[in-house]
Amino acid sequence: MAMATSTFSPRPATLNKPLRAGIQLHLIPFPHLRAGRLVCATAAGEAPPVEVEQRDEAEPAPAAASNGAAVKAEAPAAKTEPPPAPAPVPAFRDDRWVNGTWDLTKFDKGGVVDWDAVIDAEARRRKWLEDYPEATNTDEAVVFDTSIIPWWAWMKRFHLPEAEKLNGRAAMVGFFMAYFVDSLTGVGLVDQMGNFFCKTLLFVAVAGVLLIRKNEDIESLKKLIDETTFYDKQWQATWQDDSTAGPKN
């Protein structure tokens, strides 16, 4: 998979003023970040990362000034945290991410859009923002909607491999069960399908394969059933213990 030409643009240490305690609390420790930078620097063959960082250095300066204003206002309110060492806050950058959405022309692959690459890019963006949450920007609002990616791209990528796996398992188990029952009872495959008991078993098997794919699924299904009725039980609680006859039937 071709590495995206996205670069990291950590705000450099011009931010000497004590950062708001808030930013520090969710920063990922540095070794992770540096390792990522190394990977990116070696993989990004096209746009030299240096150039991009220089351009980004100009950006944080005005941000720092306004950051400082917010810091001054909140310094009296901040109670416990001593100002930790200032650290760069990375922002998400990608050449193909334009105006808050993915520019599909940049994902061209022989005349058609490479939807797999779009999915990869979006996954990367979400992961980035999950690890390094960013301030929202009203000028550059994010408007990307995943429904722009056609349904068959999702099918091909996610559903079909799993479907193949499950069908394969079902076929293997089915073949051996049919053989096993035939060898024990002498009832052939066609006669097996005619029997009501066998039809029920088949139905249970199909439902089981769909719902329970991992061992953990059994527990999560039980929890799900409890969950759906839990809230109802909490509301009904006041009617449960009435020794005096209530009007509610």
Partner: protein
């Protein structure tokens, strides 16, 4: 009696009203309470309403209007409650609130996903529809003053405890700390007083003492933490009619962060049920997400409060009942409570008035249960739908992304606002509902698929 004169004046084609017209009408209403004993010496029913918030104020007003002798006990008359302060349109009309009570009319909401996908909702609102933002101290004081004008006695004091009656139709004894009327700021060290009542309405909020005394049981609760931030005027323009909701694991694992406009400042806050110890971290994350927009702001107040997640196991015991937050009537997903508090207070009062035949007969537990039954019947669909939404869409970041994506749809917006503004769960057009279901499943599947991809990505 006006009915007598009207019976004479009306033409004979109208229904003839007998001489005891109004008395008969009253008998129809009070058939249920005909068995309860008439109060001795023709005295009126006495009810204590503990707590003077929206629930208490609405209850006291309805009780007083119904001819019941009402005492409303409130410990802090100028209490500035930490609260989002959003009221739906139906509250303004149902409670005849004057429009100057509403500081701001929010007509646009911005939902922001964990990856900062921003969706504007409110396109489908009609020009007269809005979410009203109020200051709680203003609203609460107004409702209390209305109760007072209706005839309720408003007392500044701190409820201590109550004693159950010794015999079946005896009185409850309410003990409270009476505060001097000249110092209205809840000074500790008032004088202990007590009085007798026939019924008690507990409207004293999430940490209700009435609930404790009656053994109502506990509920799970969320902690809502909020900072009121005064931002410069040019930035306030953005929040003129707009409220924001931020979802994401960074902001809250099971709730949302918000920026709500108040009269001249914004309230930035978040909440959580399961990770209460990390609330400051969530608040910092909320501030970070809104950083550019609240820059240069000064924090003028920090407040926090518990929000119930579900009703208490017992909401009525003897002739003591709970309303509002004390009962736990806060919806899931949105955490809305003001309207349900006021409505439950009013419904409880109306049940007491009906059950006591306008204050002439003793009430019983069954009358109070009638209020519970009616409230549950009216609003159960709303609560259940919001519970389902919370369970489905607040589970994980993937679900939240799907949620924000769904909110971009016009049909969803219309349904959401209709059910919020008018408190009706309206079943829409079945074809549109099917389309909505398909779109929801699609969004959730896509978001989950992306989530699995995200796990493979190493930054």
């Amino acid at each position: 009696m006006t009915s007598l004169s009207s019976a004479v004046a009306l033409p004979s084609s109208c229904r003839a009203r007998p001489a005891g017209g109004s008395r008969r009408a009253r008998m129809v209403v009070t058939r249920a309470a005909a068995s309860s004993p008439k109060l001795p010496n023709g005295r009126r029913l006495r009810v204590a309403v503990v707590g003077g918030g929206p629930a208490g104020g609405a209850a006291a007003e309805a009780l007083a209007k119904g001819g019941v002798e009402t005492v409303l006990i409130e410990r802090k008359m100028d209490n500035c409650k930490p609260c989002g302060g959003a009221i739906p349109l139906c509250m303004v009309s149902e409670f005849d609130l004057p429009l100057d009570l509403v500081d701001r009319k929010v007509r646009k909401m911005k939902m922001i996903s964990p990856s900062n996908v921003a969706v504007d909702i409110g396109r489908t609102l009609a020009p007269h529809e809005y979410i009203g933002m109020v200051r709680r101290e203003v609203l609460d004081a107004y409702l209390r003053s209305r109760a007072q004008s209706a005839g309720a006695e408003v007392v500044n004091g701190l409820f201590l405890r109550y004693e159950a009656p010794k015999e079946p139709n005896g009185s409850y004894v309410v003990h409270y700390n009476h505060y001097d009327s000249s110092s209205s700021n809840g000074k500790i060290g008032g004088e202990k007083r007590s009085f007798e009542v026939d019924a008690i309405v507990g409207a004293d909020g999430a940490n209700s003492r009435v609930a404790k005394d009656m053994g109502a049981g506990d509920y799970e609760y969320a902690i809502a933490f909020q900072e009121r931030v005064k931002i410069p005027d040019d930035r306030m323009v953005y929040y003129e009619e707009r409220a924001e909701m931020y979802v994401g694991d960074d902001v809250s694992p099971d709730f949302y962060g918000w920026v709500f406009p108040k009269c001249d400042h914004v309230a930035v806050g978040t909440g959580t049920v399961t990770h209460k110890a990390d609330i400051k971290k969530f608040q910092a994350a909320t501030r970070l997400r809104a950083k550019d927009k609240i820059e240069g702001g000064k924090i003028i107040r920090v407040e926090a409060h518990p929000i119930p997640e579900h009703p208490r196991p017992k909401r009525v015991f003897g002739r003591v009942t709970l309303v509002g937050d004390a009962a736990g009537y806060v919806t899931k997903c949105s955490g809305e409570g003001i309207y349900f508090a006021a409505k439950s207070g009013r419904m409880c009062a109306e049940a007491i008035v009906a059950g006591s035949a306008n204050g002439t007969r003793m009430v019983e537990e069954s009358d109070l249960r009638k209020y519970l039954a009616e409230f549950d019947r009216l609003y159960w669909p709303t609560y259940k739908v919001l519970d389902i939404l919370q369970k489905v869409f607040y589970r994980s970041n993937a679900a939240r992304e799907a949620f924000v994506e769904m909110c971009a749809d016009d049909y969803v917006q219309k349904m959401t606002f209709d059910s919020y503004l008018y408190k009706r769960v309206v079943p829409g057009n079945p074809l549109d509902d099917i389309k909505l279901a398909v779109n929801t499943i699609g969004s959730l599947v896509r978001a989950t698929a992306l989530r699995r991809e995200m796990e493979k990505v190493t930054l």
